[in-house]
């Protein structure tokens, strides 16, 4: 299904009929009122995520990535435009979305297991069933031995893995990730990328992944949405035609390099991105 990505941007999303969408964002604008007038954070943003697809949004700070994510979680209302999760328009927080934030945001007074159980507590889900699920998710992120530990006994990378397990607990169909590995050192970050890819392949979630690292976006995603700042706009949507189940060595391949430099070209005039 190779398709010219530039074409996709301009195509009104209704015309791609009958194809199922996990997330569809159409002509989204978000303006904030400030002391002297208004600033436009997002302008006419249109993008979609197919079921089971991994879409990365890459862009420098100020391109409205986090605003977009906040709108998708239903915590912020768009100024104009439409967002659908599945067939339903987003009007507020939804129970079938898992979110991973930039920092792990664990609760110091809960054990690792209890932190993973947070969605079950908030949504009053069956405890026994979800405890079992939490334990298997901890196994998935490689932290089985740490279930009874407290967050401050864990390293930053481990804490972020706990927060990924937490985001998956209530079995959401969609995972939103807002620069989840931004605070980690380069080596931990690569390891986390591999783990996330494995989790995605095992769990078959639709993932929208926000990052400002171009290689990270290309490495992980089926498609990369390139955004430019002030106001945030979609500059290009790029299909990444690399095989799935990628290893880190793929970063040395010429195809990988070509994707990275093509994306980087968008930011050539606006300076460094990562």
């Amino acid at each position: 299904m190779a398709r010219l990505s530039n074409e996709l941007v301009e195509m009104p999303h209704r015309s791609t009929v009958a194809e199922e969408r996990a997330i569809s964002v159409h002509a989204l604008c978000k303006r904030f009122r400030v002391a002297d007038g208004a600033i436009t954070a997002l302008e006419n943003v249109t993008l979609d995520v197919r079921p089971g697809e991994f879409v990365a949004i890459v862009g420098p700070s100020g391109c409205g990535k986090s605003t977009l994510l906040k709108i998708l979680t239903g915590l912020l209302a768009p100024s104009t435009g439409e967002i659908r999760i599945g067939d339903v328009a987003v009007e507020g927080p939804r129970r079938d979305i898992g979110t991973v934030f930039q920092s792990p945001l664990l609760f110091a007074w809960r054990t690792v297991l209890e932190n993973v159980m947070l969605p079950a507590d908030v949504q009053k889900l069956d405890r026994a069933q979800h405890t079992a699920r939490a334990l298997s998710l901890l196994e998935l992120v490689g932290l089985s031995d740490f279930a009874q530990r407290y967050p401050n006994e864990l390293s930053g990378g481990m804490q972020q893995r706990v927060s990924i397990a937490r985001a998956l607990l209530h079995d959401p169909s969609i995972l939103l990730m807002d620069e989840p590995f931004g605070a980690l050192d380069a080596m931990t970050r690569e390891r986390m990328n591999l783990e996330l890819q494995r989790i995605w392949l095992e769990q078959n979630k639709s993932i929208l992944f926000i990052t400002h690292s171009i290689p990270e976006a290309v490495f992980l995603a089926n498609r990369v949405v390139v955004m430019t700042p002030r106001p945030g706009r979609v500059a290009e949507v790029m299909e990444i035609a690399l095989p799935s189940g990628r290893g880190l060595e793929i970063m040395n391949s010429p195809e990988f390099g070509a994707y990275v430099s093509r994306i980087r070209a968008h930011f050539g005039s606006s300076g460094v991105i990562d």
């Binding site: 906040k70 979680t73 239903g74 915590l75 507020g92 927080p93 939804r94 129970r95 979305i97 979110t99 934030f101 920092s103 945001l105 609760f107 110091a108 007074w109 947070l118 969605p119 507590d121 908030v122 949504q123 740490f146 530990r149 407290y150 967050p151 401050n152 006994e153 864990l154 390293s155 930053g156 481990m158 804490q159 209530h170």
Partner: protein, 284 residues
């Protein structure tokens, strides 16, 4: 942890400080004896010890300690309870905050000790006036810390619960309250000390019983050794109360201990450190 950590006293450092204390008492005793300092100015440690022994063995100190303790604990419970609930109200409801906060500020700018004569005048020589003085003096410390603690929660964690379709009550119960506990406990620790000050001061001004009244009456009869011995009792009461609240703190904020229990890997726990700070800072 290293052995020479000054926070963790070893057996050796403990016995050293005990030896120094005994030496100090010895110097005191000898100085008073050989320089003929009058007993109504500074008594000998031995006579203080004697007064202490008589006071305790006669049951006199026990009774007055019980009275003062009752005043302190009742005053603390009332003052801290009111401080907590009004603090919660201020933190979660803007209108309540507008309404109550100015009065709270005025109350705080007032030295509460200055109110003690009035309180004794209005509520009499019995235990009630002491309880009210203690409650009034410890109220503010708890209120300010409750408000600061409940407001210390970062927006991102609030968003996390909201994004899961959590209610405001859940945000309060699962996040704000536990996050505020270290702050509230810091307030309670200060408040307990304040409550002791409040009831002793009120006892000075007029009371039928209590350790403060005992000191006052001993001063009038020039029994300085007696006064000193009651001071010793007061110090023991204060220390025990501090130990007790420390115990409550460790039970209630169980996750704090884990900070010392060495981490699996070194970490940059900037957030968890945040929560451990003990500010009694004013409300923004």
């Amino acid at each position: 942890m290293k052995d020479d950590n000054p926070i963790r006293p070893t057996v050796a450092s403990r016995s050293l400080s005990l030896a120094l204390f005994l030496a100090l008492l010895g110097i005191w005793e000898l100085t008073v004896r050989y320089l003929n300092v009058p007993a109504f100015i500074i008594p000998k440690p031995s006579s203080v010890l004697l007064s202490l022994y008589t006071g305790i063995s006669s049951g006199l100190y026990f009774w007055h300690t019980l009275i003062t303790l009752t005043e302190v604990i009742l005053g603390f419970l009332i003052g801290a309870g009111a401080g907590f609930f009004i603090g919660v109200g201020i933190a979660i409801n803007r209108y309540f905050s507008y309404f109550v906060y100015p009065y709270a500020i005025v109350l705080q700018s007032l030295p509460k000790v200055a109110l003690a004569p009035l309180i004794v005048l209005w509520f009499g020589l019995g235990i009630t006036s002491k309880v009210i003085a203690a409650a009034l003096i410890c109220f503010f410390a708890v209120m300010v810390n409750t408000v600061a603690g409940l407001r210390s929660v970062d927006q991102e964690r609030i968003d996390l619960i909201r994004a899961l379709d959590g209610s405001e009550f859940q945000v309060f119960w699962m996040l704000r309250l536990p996050a505020a506990l270290p702050f509230i406990m810091a307030g309670l620790e200060i408040a307990l000390t304040f409550a002791l000050i409040g009831s002793v001061v009120a006892e000075f001004l007029g009371a039928e019983s209590g350790l403060g009244m005992l000191i006052q009456s001993m001063n009038f009869s020039m029994d300085v050794a007696g006064s000193f011995s009651v001071l010793v009792v007061l110090a023991i009461v204060g220390l025990s109360l501090n130990q007790l609240i420390g115990l409550v703190r460790r039970k209630l904020i169980y996750w704090e201990r884990r900070q010392e229990a060495s981490a699996v890997e070194p970490l940059e726990s900037a957030e968890s450190m945040d929560a451990l700070q003990m500010p009694s800072r004013a409300i923004p």
